[in-house]
Symmetry: C2
Subunit: 100 residues, 2 copies
């Protein structure tokens, strides 16, 4: 990879992906919790989740708990591989930086 | 740091900074060599070096070798600290991603 994956490299999306990657595979995180972790506004977070969803990196599930709407987000296997590739790219760059 | 330093996070500038960080402190790299390492066009590389210079992260020295103009770039101590902070930020994000 000559450049870091721009879908992941964007700072807010990087935080979203890192938070989801920390979960056991396939586990979902509630939108409201993700909002707290990432520290973004609701609109901003929603837009970045849509970008990640369009890339196939996350899946979004909307349902209701009683009358309260709930949105949950999980990393897809494709997203997990993309994130691992991204981290490898960075480690290579940083590794080069630290090794000589 | 809540967000990665945008001056360094940009992909071309990240490569420039990583290449310079790999050198012994204060050592200069010729523009033409940096161009080969980064894989950017001359104009693009020049613009990003200017951005880094304006942030005080690199110093640029222009002289002549015979009649041939030569441009050399080195990381400043300020740039070195900024890069170290940037790497720490990423490691924290990636560390969080890998630890649970």
């Amino acid at each position: 990879m000559e450049q870091p994956d721009p879908t992941i490299h964007q700072p807010v999306r990087l935080k979203i992906m890192a938070a989801l990657k920390a979960l056991p595979q396939g586990e979902q995180l509630e939108f409201v919790r993700l909002k707290g972790i990432v520290g973004a506004t609701e609109g901003n977070l929603g837009a970045h989740i849509t970008t990640l969803e369009e890339a196939g990196y996350v899946g979004v599930e909307k349902d209701f708990v009683g009358k309260r709407p709930r949105t949950r987000v999980a990393m897809t296997p494709h997203g997990r591989r993309a994130f691992e590739d991204y981290v490898s790219y960075l480690q290579e760059i940083i590794g080069v930086a630290g090794s000589s």
